[in-house]
Protein backbone atom coordinates (compact mmCIF):
# COMPACT_ATOMS: atom_id res chain seq x y z
CA UNK A 1 0.00 0.00 0.00
CA UNK A 2 1.09 3.58 -0.55
CA UNK A 3 1.83 5.97 2.30
CA UNK A 4 2.48 9.69 1.95
CA UNK A 5 5.52 10.78 3.90
CA UNK A 6 6.55 14.35 4.79
CA UNK A 7 10.19 15.16 5.33
CA UNK A 8 11.75 17.99 7.30
CA UNK A 9 15.05 19.60 8.21
CA UNK A 10 18.09 17.44 7.49
CA UNK A 11 15.96 14.64 6.07
CA UNK A 12 14.35 17.03 3.61
CA UNK A 13 17.77 18.33 2.64
CA UNK A 14 19.19 14.80 2.16
CA UNK A 15 16.31 13.44 0.12
CA UNK A 16 15.74 16.69 -1.74
CA UNK A 17 11.96 16.42 -1.51
CA UNK A 18 9.38 17.76 0.89
CA UNK A 19 7.04 14.84 0.40
CA UNK A 20 7.48 11.31 -0.95
CA UNK A 21 5.30 8.24 -1.39
CA UNK A 22 6.59 4.95 0.05
CA UNK A 23 5.25 1.52 -0.76
CA UNK A 24 4.92 -0.82 2.25
CA UNK A 25 3.06 -4.10 2.80
CA UNK A 26 -0.45 -4.09 4.30
CA UNK A 27 -0.31 -3.81 8.09
CA UNK A 28 3.18 -2.35 8.15
CA UNK A 29 4.24 -0.42 11.25
CA UNK A 30 5.89 2.99 11.26
CA UNK A 31 9.13 1.23 12.27
CA UNK A 32 8.93 -0.76 9.03
CA UNK A 33 8.16 2.45 7.13
CA UNK A 34 11.39 3.94 8.47
CA UNK A 35 13.32 0.88 7.26
CA UNK A 36 11.67 1.28 3.84
CA UNK A 37 12.89 4.88 3.71
CA UNK A 38 16.45 3.65 4.37
CA UNK A 39 16.21 1.18 1.50
CA UNK A 40 14.88 3.79 -0.93
CA UNK A 41 17.25 6.52 0.25
CA UNK A 42 20.40 4.93 1.69
CA UNK A 43 21.71 8.42 2.54
CA UNK A 44 19.16 8.48 5.39
CA UNK A 45 20.37 5.20 7.00
CA UNK A 46 22.42 6.83 9.74
CA UNK A 47 19.50 8.97 10.85
CA UNK A 48 16.70 6.39 10.92
CA UNK A 49 17.12 5.41 14.57
CA UNK A 50 16.55 8.99 15.72
CA UNK A 51 13.31 9.51 13.77
CA UNK A 52 9.94 9.63 15.47
CA UNK A 53 6.81 9.31 13.36
CA UNK A 54 3.71 11.44 13.52
CA UNK A 55 0.40 10.42 12.03
CA UNK A 56 -2.42 12.93 11.94
CA UNK A 57 -0.17 15.50 13.62
CA UNK A 58 0.36 13.26 16.65
CA UNK A 59 3.47 11.33 17.68
CA UNK A 60 2.96 7.58 17.44
CA UNK A 61 5.04 4.68 18.78
CA UNK A 62 7.19 2.51 16.51
CA UNK A 63 4.64 -0.32 16.48
CA UNK A 64 1.81 1.89 15.23
CA UNK A 65 0.12 0.13 12.30
CA UNK A 66 -0.26 2.24 9.17
CA UNK A 67 -3.26 2.41 6.89
CA UNK A 68 -3.48 3.09 3.16
CA UNK A 69 -3.33 6.82 2.47
CA UNK A 70 -2.01 7.75 5.92
CA UNK A 71 -0.09 11.04 6.03
CA UNK A 72 3.05 10.27 7.98
CA UNK A 73 5.60 12.84 9.07
CA UNK A 74 9.13 11.71 9.88
CA UNK A 75 10.28 13.87 12.76
CA UNK A 76 14.01 14.24 13.50
CA UNK A 77 14.95 15.29 17.05
CA UNK A 78 13.39 18.74 17.44
CA UNK A 79 15.54 21.81 18.00
CA UNK A 80 13.26 24.83 18.04
CA UNK A 81 13.59 27.79 20.36
Amino acid sequence: MKVNVRLFAGLHQMVGKREIVLDVREGATVRQLRERLGEEYPVTEAFLSTLVCAVGEEYVPGDYVLQEGDMVALIPPVSGG
Binding site: R6, F8, A9, G10, H12, Q13, S49, T50, L51, V52, A54, E57, E58, Y59, V60, P61, G62, D63, A73, I75, P76, P77, V78, S79, G80, G81
Partner: protein
Protein backbone atom coordinates in the same frame (compact mmCIF):
# COMPACT_ATOMS: atom_id res chain seq x y z
CA UNK B 1 -4.20 33.34 23.01
CA UNK B 2 -2.02 33.43 19.91
CA UNK B 3 -0.01 30.65 18.27
CA UNK B 4 1.85 31.17 15.03
CA UNK B 5 4.54 29.75 12.80
CA UNK B 6 5.68 32.43 10.39
CA UNK B 7 8.56 33.37 8.10
CA UNK B 8 8.06 37.05 8.98
CA UNK B 9 9.96 38.87 11.77
CA UNK B 10 8.23 38.32 15.12
CA UNK B 11 6.42 41.24 16.72
CA UNK B 12 5.96 41.05 20.51
CA UNK B 13 3.32 43.84 20.66
CA UNK B 14 0.27 41.91 19.41
CA UNK B 15 1.39 38.81 21.33
CA UNK B 16 1.55 40.58 24.70
CA UNK B 17 -1.77 42.30 23.97
CA UNK B 18 -3.29 38.90 23.16
CA UNK B 19 -2.23 37.25 26.44
CA UNK B 20 -2.94 40.15 28.82
CA UNK B 21 -6.20 40.24 30.77
CA UNK B 22 -7.40 42.94 33.16
CA UNK B 23 -6.55 40.51 35.99
CA UNK B 24 -2.94 40.24 34.81
CA UNK B 25 -0.40 42.01 37.02
CA UNK B 26 2.61 40.52 35.25
CA UNK B 27 3.67 39.36 31.81
CA UNK B 28 6.84 37.34 31.27
CA UNK B 29 8.02 37.46 27.66
CA UNK B 30 10.83 35.23 26.41
CA UNK B 31 12.85 35.93 23.28
CA UNK B 32 14.88 33.13 21.72
CA UNK B 33 17.55 34.96 19.74
CA UNK B 34 20.03 33.82 17.07
CA UNK B 35 23.42 34.12 18.71
CA UNK B 36 26.84 34.27 17.10
CA UNK B 37 28.44 31.26 18.81
CA UNK B 38 27.60 27.66 19.69
CA UNK B 39 29.78 24.72 20.74
CA UNK B 40 32.82 26.88 20.13
CA UNK B 41 31.85 27.55 16.51
CA UNK B 42 31.31 30.98 15.02
CA UNK B 43 27.72 30.93 13.80
CA UNK B 44 27.01 32.94 10.63
CA UNK B 45 23.24 32.53 10.42
CA UNK B 46 20.46 30.10 11.32
CA UNK B 47 17.79 28.43 9.28
CA UNK B 48 14.61 27.09 10.85
CA UNK B 49 12.29 24.48 9.39
CA UNK B 50 8.92 23.50 10.88
CA UNK B 51 5.94 21.22 10.40
CA UNK B 52 3.55 24.14 10.73
CA UNK B 53 0.17 22.46 11.34
CA UNK B 54 1.58 20.08 13.93
CA UNK B 55 3.78 22.77 15.50
CA UNK B 56 0.69 24.92 16.14
CA UNK B 57 -1.10 21.91 17.60
CA UNK B 58 1.84 21.17 19.92
CA UNK B 59 2.11 24.84 20.94
CA UNK B 60 -1.53 24.65 22.04
CA UNK B 61 -0.72 21.52 24.02
CA UNK B 62 2.15 23.32 25.74
CA UNK B 63 -0.25 26.14 26.63
CA UNK B 64 -2.73 23.58 28.01
CA UNK B 65 0.03 22.05 30.14
CA UNK B 66 0.97 25.52 31.41
CA UNK B 67 -2.63 26.28 32.37
CA UNK B 68 -2.95 22.93 34.15
CA UNK B 69 0.25 23.47 36.15
CA UNK B 70 0.27 27.22 36.89
CA UNK B 71 -2.23 29.96 37.69
CA UNK B 72 -1.94 32.06 34.58
CA UNK B 73 -4.25 34.41 32.70
CA UNK B 74 -2.85 33.88 29.20
CA UNK B 75 -0.25 32.04 27.09
CA UNK B 76 0.95 32.79 23.54
CA UNK B 77 3.73 31.40 21.35
CA UNK B 78 5.24 32.56 18.04
CA UNK B 79 8.02 30.74 16.18
CA UNK B 80 9.79 32.02 13.12
CA UNK B 81 11.05 29.90 10.20
CA UNK B 82 13.50 30.47 7.37
CA UNK B 83 16.83 32.25 7.49
CA UNK B 84 17.61 34.29 10.60
CA UNK B 85 20.56 36.62 10.93
CA UNK B 86 22.47 36.93 14.22
CA UNK B 87 20.36 38.99 16.65
CA UNK B 88 17.00 38.12 15.09
CA UNK B 89 14.28 36.57 17.22
CA UNK B 90 13.34 32.95 16.52
CA UNK B 91 10.88 32.37 19.38
CA UNK B 92 8.55 34.52 21.47
CA UNK B 93 6.70 33.04 24.46
CA UNK B 94 4.41 35.30 26.51
CA UNK B 95 2.68 34.30 29.73
CA UNK B 96 0.48 36.61 31.78
CA UNK B 97 -0.48 36.01 35.38
CA UNK B 98 -1.78 37.83 38.43
CA UNK B 99 1.69 37.78 39.97
CA UNK B 100 5.28 37.69 38.80
CA UNK B 101 6.47 34.36 40.19
CA UNK B 102 3.81 32.39 38.33
CA UNK B 103 4.48 34.35 35.14
CA UNK B 104 8.23 33.62 35.27
CA UNK B 105 7.89 29.95 36.25
CA UNK B 106 5.16 29.26 33.70
CA UNK B 107 7.02 31.02 30.86
CA UNK B 108 10.24 29.11 31.64
CA UNK B 109 8.32 25.83 31.72
CA UNK B 110 6.66 26.66 28.40
CA UNK B 111 10.01 27.35 26.71
CA UNK B 112 11.42 24.06 28.01
CA UNK B 113 8.40 22.13 26.72
CA UNK B 114 8.46 23.86 23.34
CA UNK B 115 12.03 22.67 22.89
CA UNK B 116 10.92 19.12 23.74
CA UNK B 117 7.77 18.57 21.69
CA UNK B 118 7.17 21.25 19.03
CA UNK B 119 8.31 20.03 15.57
CA UNK B 120 10.72 22.83 14.66
CA UNK B 121 14.33 22.37 13.60
CA UNK B 122 17.36 24.63 13.56
CA UNK B 123 20.27 24.51 11.14
CA UNK B 124 23.42 26.33 12.17
CA UNK B 125 25.54 27.69 9.37
CA UNK B 126 28.96 28.31 10.85
CA UNK B 127 32.43 29.05 9.54
CA UNK B 128 33.43 25.90 7.69
CA UNK B 129 30.15 24.04 7.59
CA UNK B 130 26.54 23.62 8.58
CA UNK B 131 24.56 21.26 10.79
CA UNK B 132 20.94 20.51 11.57
CA UNK B 133 20.93 20.55 15.36
CA UNK B 134 19.51 17.38 16.91
CA UNK B 135 17.87 18.58 20.08
CA UNK B 136 15.24 16.47 21.75
CA UNK B 137 13.53 13.24 20.65
CA UNK B 138 9.85 13.98 21.24
CA UNK B 139 8.30 11.33 23.48
CA UNK B 140 5.56 8.94 22.46
CA UNK B 141 3.44 7.09 24.96
CA UNK B 142 5.36 3.83 25.03
CA UNK B 143 8.67 5.69 24.90
CA UNK B 144 9.97 3.82 21.84
CA UNK B 145 10.68 5.88 18.76
Amino acid sequence: MMFEITAEPLDPGPLVAAVRRDESGAVALFYGVARNENLGRKVLWLEYDAYPEMAIKKMREVADEVRAKFTVTGVGILHRTGRLEIGETSLLVAVSSGHRKEAFDACHFAVDRIKQIVPVWKKEVFEGGEEWIEGHVPGVEDGSP
